[in-house]
């Protein structure tokens, strides 16, 4: 599964100017693990500080978009600040091997697991040979 690295079309208005209000202008790229099983691809994404309701996963024109809205405020009167959080954003190009209708996702402890089942035709089929 290839990462979509081209500029997000949404984020670049036709005028060439970037709008400050577009959330994709300032975002973080979450680290992912992707592995394959016999029937599916699993995408595991670290989204710390994102509540279940803040996760937005969509597939459009074979592009899987993962967005996470940060719901985190650092403590007031910081005496040590080591991290900041921005909204998460990452895209992947899907192949036609994935059955896009059956994608499921689950969120736990700030980690999102997306399961992309392989399409029927992509799964190896055993052809029985009749002996006649």
């Amino acid at each position: 599964m290839a990462e979509k690295t081209t500029t997000n079309i949404e984020a670049t208005p036709p005028t060439g100017k970037t709008l400050a209000t577009r959330e994709e202008n300032r975002y973080m790229v979450p680290p992912v693990d992707i592995y394959e099983t016999e029937n599916a691809l699993a995408v595991i994404v670290d989204l710390p500080g994102v509540h279940k309701d803040g996760v937005d996963i969509r597939v459009d024109q074979d592009i899987l978009t993962i967005k996470g809205k940060i719901r985190y405020k650092p403590p007031k009167d910081l005496i040590r600040g080591e991290f900041g959080l921005l909204d998460f954003f990452r895209q992947f190009q899907l192949s036609d091997e994935v059955d896009q209708e059956k994608i499921t996702a689950e969120s736990k402890n700030g980690v999102l697991t997306i399961t992309l089942p392989k399409a029927e035709k992509a799964q190896p089929r055993l052809v029985k040979v009749k002996v006649g």
Binding site: V32, D33, H51, P75, I79, E82, F83
Partner: protein, 156 residues
Amino acid sequence: MGTWSLDFISDMEKMRREMDRFLGEFGSSNWTFPFSKTSFLPGRGAREYPLLNIGEDNDNFYIDALAPGVDPRTLDVSVTQNQLVISGEKTALLSTVESKAIHRSERSAGQFARSMTLPFDVNSEKVQATYQDGLLKIILPKAEVAKPKQIQVSVT
């Protein structure tokens, strides 16, 4: 991690602090911001894990630790006077998967421990810790002696 003595951890912490001072990082309240996309991963570079934001008011310290994907059962917060140790294990989901089936592996995993010295003693009996959405939030009430005192000035 469990077999380490606290002495060992505090020795390591002392050494780390010296290194930090050498590098001019100690006491810096600058935000490491914006940070790279892998900056909260364990095992990447010599970075400490988990990263912490620490705030305080008159009564409490507030510590937030960035630690997604940690099994809450392995999370351990221990406080003695002004020493805080956070330890746990980020679950390695890929350990059960054959390596040839892995397309990407960017999320590091493994055990971690971080200790730090707070500027004041805390009341270790009343420390609260919650883990939600990959963030560990700890509230440490300051010990009575460490709280600022208001002194009434009497006008005669």
